[in-house]
């Protein structure tokens, strides 16, 4: 918006100082520029219109319609929502997604921070550490899920074999309703930790040395320096990553779809998984869209917060 006024001001000054002749020429150039600009914009805008703007609007329309794509669709008011509320899987899906996001925050938020703080102190093999932590991020999530399904295998998997070797009690991992979510969060954390850690690391390197020196002169020990320098200095990045992580983990699909199929007993059906089931198992597109816009509105709050924070920092 600032940009627009600047451009307007510049145009205005050019016209005012150059007189009428230059004004006409300027305006003709402007029309040509507009034409070129719209030519360049057309393809991109078309893609946004088709695959971003239109689906968003359509989700809100379909949520209040009954559609089977054979006959014409008809308006059904809140019926799709009522059907959802009556579905026991609906409650389970939200509960699972919240639990997933909550556990993922504990693991995926604290662990990378601690890792980044320690990595930032190390002065050898810096590149090796960065490569190692980011390696899992490069593995496609579907591959990670199939791989960990084998790791979690109660008999043949490395985890129970290792626990057995150490004479520790083994676990049912994804096969028990008690441990299924935590097991899936472990996979997601392993796969995504690298990105978070590296972003923290970049933020830590921007902390001015003087702050640590001053804290040290004041007699602060290492933990106090973390608390009074490191954490306040990275608070903004932490908040952004928190929001991004909530948005990402509330849309978890691939891991439960491949590893558990939503089971055992709906213990790992996430909201997105339920959207998938409504649309592609029950062919109830109205119900799927009703659930979609609930998730959309819920996550929209976090996305808006994120955008606000990043815009303000400019």
């Amino acid at each position: 918006m600032v940009v627009a006024t600047e451009a307007g001001l510049r145009d205005a000054t050019v016209v005012a100082s150059g007189g009428a002749n230059r004004g006409v020429r300027r305006r003709r150039r402007r029309a040509g520029t507009n034409l070129a600009a719209y030519g360049l914009l057309a393809g991109g805008v078309l893609c946004f219109a088709l695959f971003s703007w239109y689906p968003t609007v359509r989700a809100f329309l379909l949520a209040f319609q009954h559609t089977n794509f054979v006959g014409s669709s008809r308006w059904v008011g809140w019926a799709n929502f009522h059907r959802l509320f009556a579905d026991p899987e609906f409650v389970a899906a939200w509960r699972n997604s919240f639990e997933f996001t909550g556990v993922a925050l504990v693991l995926g938020f604290g662990v990378p921070f601690v890792m980044a703080v320690v990595l930032n102190e190390l002065r050898h093999l810096k590149t090796v550490f960065r490569l190692l932590v980011y390696l899992p991020v490069m593995i496609p999530p579907a591959v990670t899920a199939i791989l960990w399904k084998w790791f979690y295998d109660p008999g043949n998997g490395i985890f129970n074999q290792a626990l057995g070797f150490l004479h520790l009690p083994t676990s049912a991992w994804t096969n028990s309703t008690h441990t299924a979510i935590v097991s899936l969060v472990l996979v997601a954390t392993w796969a995504n930790l690298g990105g978070t850690t590296l972003i923290y690391l970049a933020a830590l390197q921007n902390i001015p040395s003087e702050l640590y020196e001053a804290a040290e002169l004041d007699g602060a020990n290492i933990l106090q320096r973390v608390r009074h320098v490191t954490i306040p200095q990275t608070r903004y990045v932490m908040l952004l990553l928190l929001l991004l992580q909530i948005i990402a983990t509330m849309q978890e699909f691939t891991t439960p779809f491949i590893m558990t199929g939503g089971g055992p007993q709906d213990a790992t059906v996430t909201v997105l998984y339920l959207i998938y089931k409504y649309a592609f198992v029950y062919f109830d597109y109205g119900g799927a869209c009703a659930l979609s816009i609930m998730l959309f509105i819920f996550l929209g709050v976090f996305a808006a917060l994120y955008l606000r924070l990043t815009r303000n920092s400019d």
Binding site: Y38, R58, F129, L132, L198, S209, S292
Partner: protein, 299 residues
């Protein structure tokens, strides 16, 4: 001498240079360093090692308990079996076509649009930019169903994009994040430079091609990597739009075939499905890591 290098390397952070010079400080440093290295190797490299070597074990060895850390007998032939029996060449080709086309379309359309919005500033440009930035708020996966219905029957032209790579290419081009990254870069190019090109008689397109694009090479590199990685890793969207097994990308293909194949062959397929991306990462790691730190926070 050793203590000097330890304390003096780089800017100071949490640990004070003083403490790193003392014997005790150095001991703590090396213990922490060794501990981190071992923890990282076990946590991040070992699972991948386990996958690569598991693929080269015979079936009886793979199910033996306790497992063998290093395969007693190497069966690299499992990779060849996976390649031929699962028709991985076809799946990989599909992935390359989908990722390559998405990359090309995204680079061309996002660059053109970002340049137009940043430098040509057409009327209503701000409204279009607002509409594009608003899509950053849309949780992409949450709207997968209406997006699927659009691909099933594209408005106005009534085309069905299912099983066509266009179903991947077109939505990929609508990437507000990359477009905004490019626009911000173009914003930093001084207008004087553009105007002097204009005085030399260069039109907007020539200015874009000869002046702006050469300068934008680093940011285009970052956008390219993110574009390719996103398509390569995607699972839900290709699962929905590629119902024909011969059109599926490798992530979907491997998942669908995994249940019917011996474990070692499946593991070999997993390795082959990941290897190209990991290779890209190792080659471009510097750019990826730099781009990640710059892009995701300021985005």
């Amino acid at each position: 001498m050793a203590s000097g290098t330890l304390a003096d390397r780089g800017v100071r952070s949490l640990a004070s240079p003083m403490s790193l010079r003392s014997v005790r400080g150095r001991t703590v440093y090396w213990i922490v360093f060794g501990g981190m290295l071992i923890a990282f190797l076990i946590a991040f490299l070992f699972p991948i090692y386990w996958m690569i070597t598991g693929a080269m074990k015979s079936t009886p060895e793979l199910v033996s308990n306790p497992p063998t850390v290093v395969p007693h007998q190497w069966h690299p032939g499992n990779y060849a079996t996976a390649w031929s029996e699962m028709d991985l060449g076809q799946y990989l080709t599909n992935t390359v076509v989908q990722a390559g086309g998405a990359w090309l379309l995204q680079i061309v359309l996002c660059t053109a649009a970002a340049y137009a919005l940043s430098k040509l500033k057409p009327i209503f440009g701000q409204i279009i930019l607002g509409g594009i930035l608003a899509t950053l708020m849309v949780p992409t996966q949450a709207l997968v169903v209406p997006k699927y219905l659009t691909a099933l029957d594209v408005p106005f032209v009534h085309a069905n994009l299912l099983n066509s790579p266009l179903a991947v290419w077109l939505p990929a081009a609508a990437n507000a994040f990359n477009l905004y990254l490019l626009k911000r870069f173009f914003d930093q190019i001084p207008n004087d430079l553009m105007e002097s090109a204009g005085l030399d008689g260069a039109g907007p397109l020539r200015t874009l091609w000869y002046i702006v694009l050469p300068m934008a090479r680093p940011v285009l590199g970052v956008v390219s990597i993110f574009a390719v990685v996103a398509v390569w890793q995607d699972f839900l969207w290709p699962l929905l739009v590629f119902t024909d097994g011969t059109k599926q990308p490798i992530t979907v293909g491997v998942e669908q075939l995994a249940a019917n194949l011996p474990l070692n062959v499946t593991l070999a397929a997993l390795v082959l499905a990941s290897a190209p991306l990991v290779a890209v990462f190792l080659v471009f790691q510097r750019h990826i890591i730099a781009g990640l730190s710059a892009g995701s926070i300021k985005g």
